[in-house]
């Protein structure tokens, strides 16, 4: 964070800021820290670290839950994802295209719209807390609830959405969940409705961290509202913006429940996402080896995107 530079901290302050106590102040037995860590590390080891190692190992084997032999196949599972004549090639890339389409369409909306909402709320007025709570409310509901709800609202015949469109004189027979591009509009729209309050709250906290003096100084310099937004608000929000962009990309790339419940992958498998295909391949079709290879490939793709993201934000800072 771009903290304003201050005078050198005094010695006592420095000691307090330091996260690790100096050796002289250690006031516990040697085993104590490990005992405090034990319960967490037990769960973390079994369900956090072990699955990562196991995932790599699985991806190098032909792993069928039902077969006694699980032969080592080297990088064959990975090669299958990239060779056009393999069993999984077509479905895999169709799911990658689905996830990429969803991510590219949803992330800009989920970065920009919540910022507008946060700016709207970033002032003290009666009812502010109330409106913030209303905008955030859909986010506390699970994907099962919002999936069932929107599958109903988007129903072509009985749905509320087509009914409303009809009332204002627009076509009222759009097949929202059974044909593209409508299915994409639905999945993106529902996700924006569901999660934009979450990003708005994060932005709001970031906005409140920008010192009021900066705005006062800009006003005295005769800056317009737009100037202040560009030269004070946006630079002040940079760390928060990076966080929002990164976490939103990751969340969108992991989309599963919306397409599972609302479009059921339709039409065909066009809206079946990568995560959906991975669990189907791995758990329903007993092909854990290839599914693990897909998981790792997805993770690597996301690492590349995240690193690029950090680079772009740093580049802008220079």
């Amino acid at each position: 964070m771009a903290a304003p530079t201050v005078a050198e901290p005094t010695v006592t302050e420095a000691a307090r800021v330091d996260a690790s106590p100096p050796a002289a102040r250690v006031m516990h037995g040697r085993a104590t820290p490990y005992l405090f860590l034990l319960p967490y590390l037990l769960i973390f080891g079994v369900f956090g670290l072990l699955p990562i190692a196991l995932g790599v190992w699985l991806s190098l084997h032909q792993w069928d839950f039902q077969l006694p032999n699980k032969p080592f196949v080297g990088l064959d599972n990975y090669a299958d994802l990239f060779s056009a004549d393999s069993l999984v090639y077509g479905d895999w890339w169709e799911s990658v295209r689905a996830t990429a389409t969803f991510t590219v369409a949803s992330v800009p909306l989920l970065v920009v719209l919540p910022l507008g909402m946060a700016l709207l709320l970033n002032r003290s007025f009666p009812g502010r807390t109330f409106f913030r709570a209303i905008y955030f409310a859909p986010y506390v509901l699970g994907v099962a609830v919002i999936g069932l709800l929107w599958r109903f609202l988007l129903d072509a015949n009985l749905g509320f959405v087509n009914h409303l469109l009809g009332l204002v004189g627009l076509p009222s027979d759009t097949p929202w969940v059974t044909a593209t591009p409508w299915a994409w509009v639905s999945l993106v729209g529902v996700t924006v409705w569901w999660t934009c309050g979450f990003n708005a709250v994060i932005y709001l906290a970031g906005l409140q961290d920008i010192p009021a003096e900066l705005y006062e100084a800009a006003t005295m310099d005769g800056a317009s509202t737009w100037d202040k937004f560009r030269n004070v608000t946006l630079p002040g929000l940079r760390p928060v913006l990076l966080f929002v962009v990164t976490t939103t990309i990751l969340a969108s790339a992991n989309m599963f429940g919306q397409s599972y419940l609302i479009t059921q992958g339709a039409p065909g498998n066009e809206t079946r996402t990568v995560v959906s295909y991975i669990v189907e391949r791995g758990l329903a079709q007993n092909d854990a080896g290839r599914a693990a290879a897909m998981s790792i490939t997805l993770t690597l793709m996301l690492v590349v995107v995240s690193v690029a993201n950090f680079r772009i934000f740093r580049y802008q800072e220079d």
Binding site: P33, I52, I134, F136
Partner: protein, 276 residues
């Protein structure tokens, strides 16, 4: 207020936006109290006339193949136990990382940071294998324990513990307390808001979890509510009052908790961005 009239456009935008978020939820509740035939009307009527218990009657039908009430109880048990487990494991680990000095501290911290970059959905296949090996599939434990390894709780509490004034802990030590007593009697009471935040967020995330339960729970009487709701859609297809009644049942605890603990939820979400 500076000038009431100049505020009118702002309130107009705020109210329209609020309607976008609220109307779908109101529609869900209204549909859940419609009769079957009223819900089949096209164009749909806004208000249920007459108000009908049809949806809830069918949802809770005794002897049904879909024991919805049991799913509700399972979800309550799972979310409560999960939140308690996160609270205990994350607070002790965070305290050690915030205040103690020991070999391997950096390594532990780095490992926890590293797992933040692994998309959780990609761990599903290996985690399924681990759960299978432990014979945990189709049990309560499988929806309570694995997700408790999340790094968020440890980060969040460690950050909070670092802001506490160290003097209080030192005074307690001088008075003869050991680390465990300091943690229980000094640190935890001072951390009530942060602990409340973590408890509420953990409860909600478990209450709402969908992807994991639908693959690791199989028996009708073991399902959690979200996993069961996914089935209802296939069973009742266009019988919307029943499906919406199910959605209402899953929403009410989450919304009530949010209203009661709004401050803590918002606080937790706000901080996740600032520390990122």
């Amino acid at each position: 207020m500076r000038n009431a009239r100049s505020q009118i456009p702002r309130y107009l935008v705020l109210v329209v936006l609020a309607a976008v978020f609220v109307v779908p939820l109101v529609w869900m509740v209204l549909t859940s109290v419609k009769s079957y035939s009223a819900a089949q009307q096209s164009p749909p009527s806004w208000l249920p006339d007459p108000v009908s218990t049809y949806g809830y009657d069918r949802l809770f039908q005794p002897g049904s193949q879909n024991p919805v009430l049991l799913w509700f109880v399972n979800s309550m048990a799972a979310a409560t136990l999960h939140a308690a487990l996160v609270l205990v494991t994350a607070s002790t680990a965070a305290y050690a990382l915030a205040r103690m000095r020991f070999a391997g501290r950096r390594l532990v911290f780095a490992m926890i940071v590293a797992t933040l970059f692994v998309p959780p959905a990609t761990l599903i296949i290996p985690n399924f294998l681990v759960a299978d090996t432990l014979d945990w599939l189709d049990t309560l434990a499988v929806v309570v324990v694995p997700s408790a390894a999340s790094a968020f709780g440890v980060f969040f509490l460690r950050q909070f513990f670092l802001t506490l004034p160290r003097e209080l802990e030192e005074a307690a030590i001088l008075d003869g307390a050991n680390q465990w007593q300091v943690f229980l009697r000094v640190v935890l009471p001072l951390s009530k808001p942060a602990l409340a935040t973590l408890t509420v967020l953990s409860f909600l995330s478990n209450w709402n979890d969908f992807l994991w339960p639908i693959y690791v729970l199989f028996s009708a009487d073991r399902l959690t509510l979200p996993a069961g709701l996914g089935l209802l859609q296939g069973v009742y297809i266009a019988d919307y009052p029943v499906i919406m009644a199910g959605a209402v049942l899953a929403s009410v605890p989450a919304l009530v908790l949010f209203v009661l603990a709004q401050r803590y939820v918002i606080e937790g979400v706000s901080r996740s961005g600032l520390k990122g």
